[in-house]
Every structure is written in C-alpha cells, then in structure tokens.
C-alpha cells in the first residue's frame, strides 16, 4: 500500500493533503514521518504519545526463565523489589499476551530455535531485555572450545536493553525496565510518579535505606 502511494499520484487531492500534513504548520500535531519509519500512513502525534506512554508503563513480561538470572527475575517480582509498581508483574505464560521478553540466561544451540519461535509468536510492539552476561555475550561460557553456547542473544533477535551482571541484582533488572521505558518514550519516568515511599525496612536491623 505504502509503496504504491509513494510513486504514483492517484488523486491530486490526496497528494495535496499529504503535502499539507508534511508542512510545518502540522508539525506539532503530526510527527515527522521520518522519525517513525515504516508504519501506518498517518500518525497523529498526540495519540502516538499516549500510546507509547501506555506501552511503556504496561510491559508484561513472559515467563521464560532459562538459568540463574531467572531466579533474580523471579526475585524482582517478589515482595522485596516488586516489579508490579511499574505494572510489570503480570508475567504471562503465553507469548501471545506478553510485550517484553526477558532473556534470563544462557542460550545454547538447542534452545535457539525455541527462542526464535517464542519471539515471533509475540505480537508487536515487543521488546527484549538481555539479562545477565550469558545472554549478552555468552558470559563465562564464551570460551575457546565453546561447542554449544550462543555468544549473545542479539545474534538471534534484536535486543533493546542489556543488563549485565552474573546474575544482575534485581535493581539492575528494574533499571533495565526503566531503560526500556526510556527507549519507548524518550524519558526515564514517563508518567506521574508516586512521591514519598515509606519503607518499614528503615527500621529493620542491618538494612539501612538511603
């Protein structure tokens, strides 16, 4: 569709309309076409912003734990760190309903096709976090006589955010999710935030909170 419209001018009115849309006066309303690349013919900037805000704040991860990092991924969802504050505690077991794939662990030759299938089953827009050194580059398993481990998931699927560590602390994963939000919307904290958290942990011995 898009290709056809570009070349031939079927209707002069339409051309005029698109010209109008591209003109400076529409800039505040309608975003720069080049900034989005492929996609629908018409985008209205305001809707786009709202949509992106929504997508950024409701990243549902898929339950796809592979190795050590999976435990920290679980830990991130648990009471101490609680990923649900960002609306991401809805770990969906089905790739069809998830937006975010957290590759938490080593990917080897046998797992690679599975990973690809799962990624393809996710509906777009979708994002990928490579969590842990193994997922980023093969980590400690990137050795000379490596016969099985894939050295980085970004060789298989596009990765948006990398979270290093072996395994990273849950804070690292939360930081990664914030980075994904940043990637989607351009700002680190895209929506009105909660202001004054009061943690009872302040009183727990041995755990000081800054």
């Amino acid at each position: 569709m898009g290709e056809e419209n570009k070349g031939s001018s079927i209707a002069p009115e339409l051309d005029a309309y698109t010209e109008f849309l591209k003109s400076e006066s529409c800039r505040p309303l309608i975003g720069d076409a080049g900034e989005y690349g492929e996609g629908p013919l018409l985008r209205i900037k305001l809707t786009d912003i709202i949509l992106k805000l929504c997508q950024a704040n409701s990243l549902w991860p898929m339950t796809f734990g592979i190795a050590c990092c999976a435990i920290e991924m679980m830990g991130t969802g648990m009471a101490r760190f609680d990923i649900s504050r960002y609306g991401s505690e809805v770990f969906r077991p089905s790739p069809r309903q998830s937006d975010l794939m957290i590759v938490a662990g080593t990917v080897n030759k046998k797992l690679a096709p599975v990973l690809l299938t799962l990624y393809e089953q996710m509906p777009s827009p979708k994002w990928v976090i490579a969590m842990g050194n193994c997922a980023i580059s093969g980590g400690p398993f990137k050795v000379e006589d490596n016969y099985n481990v894939i050295e980085g998931v970004d060789k298989l699927i596009p990765v948006d955010v990398y979270v290093p560590g072996c395994p990273p602390r849950p804070e690292g994963l939360i930081e990664g999710i914030l980075k994904v939000q940043e990637k989607i919307t351009g700002t680190r904290h895209p929506l009105p935030q909660n202001r004054h958290p009061k943690s009872p942990l302040r009183k727990v011995k041995g755990l000081r909170v800054k």
Binding site: A79, R80, F81, D82, R85, A130, N133, I136, S137, G138, G139, P140, K142, V143, G152, D154, D160, V161, Y162, V163, P164, G165, C166, P168, R169, P170, E171, G172, I174, E175, G176, L178, K179, K183, N194, P197, S199, P200, L201, L207, R208, V209, K210
Partner: protein
C-alpha cells in the same frame, strides 16, 4: 459417614485458617524497597565489576602491570598492557580493559593481585542500550576519578 463429615469440617476449617493468614498479611506493612526512590545500602563486600584502587599517597594506581589478573582470569575478560616509558624504572599502565559481559564475578583477579591494586566497584544497577557499553576502560575511569 463420619469421615465424610469430619473431612468436610476439617477441610473447611483449614481453608478458613488459610484465609486468616492472608487477611492478616493484608494489613501488615509492606516490605518493599521501592528501588529508584529508595535504595538499600549495598553491603561493603558486594562484588560489582572491578576497579583500580586509587592510592591516596601516589594519587594514582598501584598496578605494576604484572598481568597476574589477566592470566588467572577464568573468563579471559581482562586485558592489561604496560609500557616502559622513558625515564621510569617500572612499567606503567597504558591499558586496563575489562569486558564485563564475560565476567563471572569470581574475585580471582582481586585476590591474586600481588599489590592489591584492584577492588570491586559498587555499581549494581547497570543497564544500557548496547553491549559495548560494558567494555570498561578501567584506567580511564580511574583518571576521571582523579580529576
């Protein structure tokens, strides 16, 4: 028949008890540390990636470029290069490169160092858009700190 009713009764009671536990928990304070807004003090022995220790006397690094860390690293993530500059007795460090994405945080490098030139950084919340971001030039980091 007796079992039929007793099972119903004990089963029902156990369910009520379980509900009691969660009800109680509903009104207990939360234990969450809301991360970006409040942070736990990371324990002093936390192992992040390695950093060069800033020697306060020399206002520089202690490293003697012996390469022990490079040799003993099980994941081969350290590259140390030293050069003998003119007018100096010892080699001086020109490159201390760490590929953090390969590191397994075992701590061998810190322990093996004959002059205690390395320490763990306390950076626990790293994340970036590319994997090259974790290719640290530790020497540069140190120089930035000196400044």
């Amino acid at each position: 028949m007796k079992q039929y009713f007793s099972e119903l009764f004990t089963g029902g009671m156990s369910l009520v008890e379980g509900l009691g536990v969660t009800m109680k928990a509903l009104f207990m304070p939360i234990v969450t540390v809301q991360y970006p807004r409040e942070e736990i003090d990371i324990s002093p022995s936390f192992r992040g990636h390695i950093d060069l220790i800033l020697d306060p006397e020399k206002n520089s690094y202690r490293c003697i470029t012996c390469g022990m860390c490079e040799k003993n690293c099980p994941s081969n993530c350290i590259t140390v290069k030293g050069e003998k500059l003119e007018g100096q007795k010892k080699k001086s460090l020109v490159l201390f490169d760490l590929d953090f994405t390969k590191c397994s945080l075992c701590g061998t490098c810190v322990e093996i160092c004959p002059v205690n030139a390395l320490e763990y950084s306390k950076e626990y919340n790293l994340a970036a858009f590319s994997r090259e971001a974790f290719h640290y030039d530790i020497l540069k980091r140190l120089e930035e700190r000196i400044k």
